[in-house]
Point group: C2
Chain length 223, copies 2
Amino acid sequence: MSFFTETPVTSSDKTFYLLRKALVEGEIKPGAKLSEVELSTKYEVSRAIVREAINRLESCNLVERKPNVGARVVTLTHEGLIELYQVREALEGMAARLAAQNMSDQEIADLQALLNIHGEDVQKRGSYYQEAGDVDFHYRIIVGSKNDHLISMLQNGIYHLVRMYRVQLGMEGPRVTTAFDEHLNIVRAIANRDPELAEILMRRHITYSKRNIGNKLNAQSSV
Amino acid sequence: MSFFTETPVTSSDKTFYLLRKALVEGEIKPGAKLSEVELSTKYEVSRAIVREAINRLESCNLVERKPNVGARVVTLTHEGLIELYQVREALEGMAARLAAQNMSDQEIADLQALLNIHGEDVQKRGSYYQEAGDVDFHYRIIVGSKNDHLISMLQNGIYHLVRMYRVQLGMEGPRVTTAFDEHLNIVRAIANRDPELAEILMRRHITYSKRNIGNKLNAQSSV
DNA sequence: GAGGACTATATTGTCGACAAATCTAGATTG
DNA sequence: CAATCTAGATTTGTCGACAATATAGTCCTC
């Protein structure tokens, strides 16, 4: 976990990170109510801290809040997931386009090296190219866009919600090798400094995984 | 102003809206420090309220905050504006695509009616197709996408920042008629239920206005 | 027995005060 | 004279208490 080194500086930060983890990993269930007093005793901080943390969770789209009523963990729905992936497609497609323009040669070389390692893993163990690797790949391209707005929107806006869906719906499944090939092609387009192609390929890649996840959901719910 | 009817329910809401207005319209200048005590006396609320409002402004990308130091109004730069429009292009392009799929026939008819009115204004007065009209047009397509994530990101994430740029850099200029034709074509694509074309046209439209604004900025700074 | 008004309770919203961190300015030392 | 250290002042972070609002349950009326 080289990236995403968020170090809590204030007590509110820490509570925010803890709560976010609890939500993403399903320790606190979707739809559950977030009681300020309850959480403040649980995490041993004042209500003001919890309150600020909840506000931040709302900014991340992880909770929904109603004035004078309270906050609830978002519920995960099939439609919600599709909508989320539509936004991902738009933003990460643009990220790939910009990465093809703005990534340094060194960054591209590093990204290719990373993919080589993943490729060996895929060949050897036939798998292990999961979450972490996938996240790392996408993360590098996002950062490679060099667009701070884009980076912030993906990181704070949808990244953790995507993770919440993946973790709680058990999406760490296969789709390994094909996804790897798609990654390969995206990097190739970036290395060729071909923004249009990079965007198209990234959008397809995300569309595919959306479809893949959708199928899984249908299979699950029809069992 | 039919849309955007944000009614403050809590005191914190009200302060947030007031502060946001002050920032967008430049009453509080870019780069200025936001002192919690100062603002709390000015708006006659407690520091906690101001604090919460500032947190929300941070979520809107209107202020930047450093722990234990404080919050500052964002500074407006040429690069920042370009980055912002890149995000807009991605998100509103997707919005147009989805609108072509999801808007009801009635909504499309209303949108066409709106454009007709604008068209008459353009012909008669040669102008008046400014801010409000443009905002209304884009807003309807965003909402027409029926994608809540997308809507929220555009409304809370970048809309007000775009407005801040426009107001403070005096961007309510011409580019009336061409922009109107572009709007016309976008609506036509939506009415034809042609998602791909709607997205392409919307992205071009935003690219054009980005270029237009960029030219203005260069002209300004070189004077 | 159903529906509505009222009361009691619990939860969120707001406030002022204290603690901790940062910044400022003056003093000290090399 | 420059750089560093220190003490004071200012600002943000945190807390517990009070006020206002929503919720749940009870009682009354029809």
